[in-house]
């Protein structure tokens, strides 16, 4: 992993660690810690999605469904079978990985946006199942009483503890993905993105690599889902519908889909926008999201993280223009 990424990682870690100390002092924003827990959970969902969009060039419209499978697996295994949450979480991960493998293998063999179509259908099916299987899932009203996580006998209940737990996991996932991107696997992924045919002829199994990226995204979404279920303690199908899949796409696009940092920036920003700053729009929320998407696609296709390099480029241009004028 390059020096630059380590520096960004360090900067992000310092910010994340000190964030609660800053906001808890101010009464008006002290609940931002709670918002940030959600932001961290959504970041986990978005990291995998950004790899899929940025490197495999594919769109997934079932990210919320994987998120939901993770959440409900945790919910059902802990409340109905009394299993430990730390067993339920990997179970959800394995289930999501399997499902992604089954959907991805045929859909990613074909060129074009077949994965988007397949996942669109799958997402809707999952949502219907969650709403209809009343015995298992509690139906539209969902399930409650999902136990909190425990670490070494210590129950995690406070927002602050959750905050550090979730963001710790987010950073582990980020490091995991950055490690992949800066290895021969990442090189192969970038090669697929640039010249698929040539990559294939140099020995990159392009189809199966795309499937693996898709699986990775599904597994991360399952982790996020499980954390979500244990954090909010009650879940219902409306948190895992198509609208949420689109929201996750939006987070990745706003942040910048060609960088893993884009997922982080986009998820945090859009969580604040959605949970805090745009509440007043209520019903018109979807209009606002549509406008944001349109604006980003038109004016900032590289997302927010591309702003930094854009500014740097401007400055360079200005500097060279000044030099030209001076000489």
């Amino acid at each position: 992993m390059g020096k630059k990424n380590w520096l960004i990682l360090l900067g992000a870690a310092v910010f994340i660690c000190s964030f609660p100390m800053l906001v808890t002092k101010i009464k008006a924003v002290s609940h931002y810690v709670d918002v940030m827990v959600f932001a961290g959970i959504f970041t986990l969902v978005c990291i995998g999605l950004s790899l899929l969009i940025g490197y495999a060039g594919q769109i997934c419209l079932a990210q919320a469904a994987f998120f939901g499978i993770g959440a409900y697996t945790s919910g059902i295994l802990t409340t109905k079978f009394g299993l430990d949450p730390w067993i339920a979480m990997p179970a959800g991960m394995i289930l999501c990985g399997l499902v992604a493998w089954i959907i991805g293998t045929p859909a990613l063999r074909l060129r074009g946006h077949y994965l988007a179509m397949a996942t669109l259908g799958f997402g809707v099916i999952v949502n219907i199942v969650l709403a209809e299987e009343v015995n298992w899932t509690g139906g539209p009203s969902g399930m409650a009483g999902i136990p909190a996580l425990r670490i070494a006998g210590y129950k995690i209940t406070s927002d602050l503890a959750w905050y550090y737990l979730v963001w710790g996991i987010v950073f582990c996932a980020l490091i995991f993905c950055l490690n992949i991107l800066h290895s021969r696997v990442g090189r192969a992924l970038r090669a697929i993105h640039e010249e698929e045919k040539a990559a294939e002829c140099m020995g990159v199994p392009t189809a199966s690599y795309k499937v693996r990226v898709f699986i990775l995204g599904a597994v991360l979404a399952a982790v996020a889902g499980s954390l979500y279920a244990h954090y909010v303690a009650c879940i219902n199908p409306s948190s895992f519908n198509l609208m949420w899949s689109i929201r996750f796409m939006l987070m990745v696009m706003v942040g910048g889909m060609h960088s893993i940092w884009g997922a982080l920036v986009g998820a945090v920003l859009m969580t604040f926008v959605g949970n805090e700053w745009l509440r007043m729009f209520a019903q018109f929320e979807i209009l606002v999201y549509g406008s944001i998407l349109l604006a980003v696609a038109l004016f900032l296709p590289g997302g927010i993280v591309s702003l930094a390099s854009l500014i740097a480029m401007r400055r360079e241009k200005k500097a060279s223009a000044l030099e030209d004028a001076g000489s």
């Binding site: 995991f176 490690n179 392009t206 990775l216």
Partner: protein, 269 residues
């Protein structure tokens, strides 16, 4: 290094009854041919003769409609390109297909893929050995860059190289897979005379690495200079084959191809 041409080597590539149809059009039909190991085998023919289709069949990018292709006894037809690459067949492309936003070195490092193993989990968790493997890949890639004399450009983005250098870089990337057979699709296309000469020397050096070279090219001077054998295709069929001297004298070839445009195909693109 003329031994390869004078001694009949065991065939490395065997093509039997190869046919490829696109709808009703036969791009290749009834191709039977053996390429002896360790030689430079040229494939010539007018545009649309099926040369690139032949390359695409061998490298697995398209599946033949009929027939067999075998590399030292291993059947290749119907395999995915990445598997064929593992078997030891590598190629370059008529229209340069480099990873433009990756550096020159990274392009060649990618070529090391078929010879290395580590996957997603090993990379994500940084298993021990990951770093040393990466170091080995880098070292090997630099060797190949050195071989084609591009080592001094290692850090540049491949897309910023001049066209001639890009063509050479593609060859280095293909060589890095340690192929037994390398397919060069019009490597001299778009090169100037000096660059073409250097390319000729490089291809002869590749043969010295005991890599069999299959060469599609329109530059007849280059072909006649360096190739050991020539296969002439016309309308998807074998028109003739033999040594450069034999082909030069071959009446059907002269009528069908060489004579028409005075030995140089002008619409090479």
């Amino acid at each position: 290094m003329n031994t390869a041409a004078s001694q009949p080597n065991a065939p490395i590539l065997r093509i039997e009854g190869l046919e490829k149809r696109f709808g009703g059009v036969a791009a290749l039909q009834g191709i039977d041919y053996e390429v002896p190991g360790g030689i430079i085998q040229a494939v010539i023919g007018p545009n649309g003769a099926g040369k690139t289709t032949l390359f695409n069949c061998i490298s697995g990018m398209i599946e033949p409609s009929k027939g067999r292709i075998s590399l030292e006894g291993c059947r290749l037809e119907g395999l995915a390109p990445h598997k064929i690459a593992r078997f030891g067949v590598s190629r370059t492309f008529q229209h340069v297909a480099l990873f433009r936003k990756m550096t020159v070195l990274e392009n060649v490092m990618l070529g090391r893929r078929p010879r290395t193993r580590r996957g997603f989990l090993a990379a994500g968790f940084r298993f021990p050995g990951m770093r040393s493997e990466e170091e080995r890949i880098r070292k090997k890639a630099l060797e190949y860059l050195d071989f084609v004399r591009l080592a001094h450009l290692a850090g540049l983005d491949a897309g910023t190289l001049p066209f001639g250098k890009q063509k050479i870089l593609e060859i280095a990337r293909a060589l890095a897979t340690e192929p037994r057979l390398i397919l060069l699709d019009e490597p001299a296309g778009g090169l100037n005379m000096r660059e073409t000469e250097e390319l000729g020397a490089l291809i002869q050096q590749i043969r010295k690495l005991r890599v069999t070279v299959l060469l599609v090219e329109h530059d007849m001077n280059l072909i006649m200079d360096i190739s050991d054998r020539i296969l002439v295709l016309d309308f998807g069929k074998v028109l003739a084959s033999g040594t450069p001297a034999e082909i030069k004298e071959n009446r059907t070839v002269i009528e069908a191809y060489l004579g028409v445009e005075n030995g140089r195909d002008t619409d090479a693109t």
